[in-house]
């Protein structure tokens, strides 16, 4: 996908507070911006940090207007909580890709290190998007202040798992 393309890519990340939803979207947003796209990122959550539902939206393309995508236009759904999954299924467009089926794989891959589930799933997402890998690495270096190397490792695992299910 070239930066001159008119197409807007819409991605929805969701789950509950404390799962790293916003951080995932942040890394994805930086990667798309570094790749030369106009990016908009927005969240829907109630009172932050209190265990409520969290939704984060990334849109990127040559020029993006609305920060919120229209309902039912998501190209990708990434859900981190089984109880939340059904809630936003309607956001996915026809032919869009639901990456929820990778949640189990992510949980198995990280084992006890649950904080890396989001990074693994980011890796899965990255395999579907044609943003150069170097931009993902740069974005992670920008956002992950702690455990950068481990994050990179789980990102790569996810990236390799992408497309396998």
């Amino acid at each position: 996908m070239a930066a001159g393309n008119q197409k807007i890519t819409n991605i929805v990340f969701y789950g509950i507070g404390g799962q790293g939803i916003v951080t995932m979207a942040e890394v994805c947003g930086w990667a798309a911006m570094l790749a030369g796209f106009h990016v908009k990122k927005t969240e829907v959550h109630g009172m932050a940090q209190r265990g409520g539902s969290v939704e984060s939206y990334i849109r990127f393309g040559k020029k993006v207007f609305s920060p919120l995508p229209q309902t039912g236009t998501a190209d990708y759904l990434i859900c981190l909580h089984p109880e939340e999954h059904d809630r936003l299924k309607g956001e996915l467009k026809k032919g869009g890709i639901d990456l929820f089926l990778y949640l189990q794989a992510a949980q198995q891959a990280v084992g006890e290190k649950k904080v890396f589930v989001n990074t693994f799933l980011l890796g899965v997402l990255s395999s579907y998007l044609s943003l150069d890998e170097k931009y993902w690495i740069q974005a992670m270096e920008k956002i992950f202040k702690r455990n950068l190397e481990e994050n990179k490792t789980f990102f790569q695992q996810g990236r390799q798992a992408g497309g396998s299910l």
């Binding site: 829907v44 009172m47 207007f65």
Partner: protein, 519 residues
């Protein structure tokens, strides 16, 4: 000439972009009180050593200190959420009379849809009421540019300028380019009592001068590029703020009059636009402000169904507005927030549930005590009302005891005046101060009772128990809620007494403790 390599591309929220824009414009002083969605503006500025930044005790204090800094000669800024401006309404209403000297920008973040607020008030109406010009950016990148304009307008017309953001702009991010700061020399302060002492004789003259300045600002509003026309076909929109982006999303080829400066209202521009275009629609969130202004001009247009005055817009609502239909129902049940597991407030609400009392609540995390499983906080109006509602309800309800409950930061913000009032007017009963040593709801800001400044420098610590005693409380107890039985026993005892008692329940916020462990 700025070299390209001094510029830096970042993914910034509206809050960060606005703060960076103010910094680039030579901002030297900023004051605010935390409140979603405005908090990150002051937090961003606190990272920049060139700017003198503070969390003030409340918004009224913040506004006055910041306005005075501008009158003193330094570009300065006030920051709060929409309801925070209510607390600062007193200085706001006279600020346009006295003017500014160096630029003074009033940043107010509205919360359509109430992501974290007690109402949906629309700051555009306040601009009209106070005769203060208002700018309304549509996106983070625009927020950065508009705040610079705001400083220039403020100095040129000697008037405070409101920049209004909404949650969707504050908390959404986009590509933003950071530029260099343009430092500005301090403007000399001159003693000018006719301008700065608002007694009737002086204020009458300043009121007249204000109307002259507003007249000049009306002419400016007709010319400014912030009120921009985009040519298009078939359908036309007058819009502002984030609504503009929703219109562009759905009708990219429409003619648009985008009102980046909706007050003073550019009457001629709107008249011309409505004359030149057919099928004009006014699209705006919340109050029908643009609509009412346009109605007074007698021009032809259509506006939203009244149901759209409630809540936040979404892009897919625009066709409903065009069709004259009411707002569609959106069935997405979100998981409600709750008090964190391990939160010390939970212990208190567990006891209150058993006490069979009426609990006058306040604003903070602990407002969540109204939700199951506790359901033991029964009122919440505004900052400080945990104390004043305690007094008012206590004076009327006789078959049950009334308890007031308020957080440490909220108590310092505006609970203390209620306590002085209660003591002075001989009220009896129990007020609980939940002291978790932080302003937790907004993400953990220090306040005077913490003894740290916004930059985590040690400062004078306000001792709440001393403050309550001098305010007139008969008993002041400080307890750790971990000792649940002791706390329950104490509350039962104090409730039974004919005295005004404050029980300070002290234990740090669990998030604060976790943060400190992580370093």
């Amino acid at each position: 000439m700025k070299s390209k390599d001094t510029q830096q591309l970042v993914l910034f929220s509206g809050d960060e972009a606005l703060a960076q824009g103010a910094f680039e414009a030579g901002l030297e002083f900023a004051a605010g009180y935390p409140g979603t969605p405005s908090t990150e503006i002051i937090e961003y500025l606190a990272q920049l050593p060139e700017v003198d930044v503070q969390w003030s005790v409340n918004e009224k204090v913040a506004f006055e200190v910041a306005l005075a800094a501008a009158i003193g000669g330094k570009r300065s800024m006030y920051v709060s959420k929409h309801v925070g401006l209510n607390v600062a309404m007193d200085p706001l209403m006279t600020s346009a009379y006295v003017g500014v000297n160096a630029g003074f920008v009033v940043v107010v973040c509205d919360d359509p849809g109430m992501h974290s607020s007690q109402n949906e008030q629309d700051t555009r109406l306040f601009a009209r009421a106070a005769n203060v010009p208002l700018l309304e950016p549509s996106s983070p990148a625009e927020a950065k540019e508009f705040v610079k304009e705001a400083f220039d307008i403020s100095e040129r017309f000697d008037i405070p300028v409101i920049v209004r953001l909404t949650t969707r702009i504050c908390h959404s991010k986009e590509n933003v380019v950071k530029d260099e700061r343009q430092p500005r020399a301090t403007k000399p302060f001159e003693i000018n009592m006719a301008k700065h002492v608002m007694v009737p004789r002086n204020a009458l003259i300043q009121h007249e001068d204000l109307l002259r300045r507003i007249g000049a600002l009306k002419a400016f509003s007709e010319k400014t590029k912030m009120n921009a026309i985009e040519k298009g076909e078939k359908i036309a929109f007058i819009t502002s703020g984030v609504s503009y982006l929703y219109v562009k999303e759905i009708y990219p080829k429409a003619a648009i009059l985008k009102l980046g400066m909706p007050y003073p209202f550019p009457e001629k521009k709107v008249k011309d636009f409505c004359k030149k275009n057919k099928n004009v629609y006014i699209v705006e969130e919340l109050e029908p402000y643009l609509e009412e202004q346009a109605r007074m001009l007698g021009v032809k247009f259509k506006a939203k169904h009244a149901s759209f005055a409630i809540g936040e817009f979404r892009p897919e609502y625009i066709p409903f507005i065009v069709a004259g239909r009411s707002k569609p129902e959106r069935k997405v049940p979100a998981r409600p927030p709750m008090l964190c597991l391990g939160c010390p407030h939970r212990l208190v609400f567990g006891i209150l549930k058993d006490l069979n009392v009426v609990v006058a609540g306040d604003i903070g995390c602990y407002t969540l005590g109204s939700l199951p499983p506790f359901s033991s906080l029964h009122t919440c109006l505004c900052m400080g009302a945990g104390v004043t509602f305690f007094e008012g309800l206590g004076r009327t309800i006789k078959d049950k005891k009334v308890i007031g409950i308020i957080g440490d930061s909220t108590f310092v913000h505006s609970g203390i005046t209620g306590l002085i009032n209660a003591a002075y007017n001989k009220a009896k009963g129990v007020i609980i101060i939940l002291d978790n040593a932080i302003t937790a709801m907004t993400g953990g800001q220090p306040n005077p009772a913490v003894g740290m400044t916004i930059r985590n420098e040690p400062t004078k610590k306000l001792v709440l128990e001393d403050l309550c005693r001098v305010a007139g409380a008969d008993n002041v107890d400080v307890v750790d809620p971990t000792n649940v039985k002791d706390l329950e026993q104490l509350l039962r005892q104090r409730i039974g007494e004919e005295a005004l008692s404050v029980v300070i329940v002290r234990k740090p916020c669990i998030l604060l403790v976790q943060k400190m462990k992580k370093g």
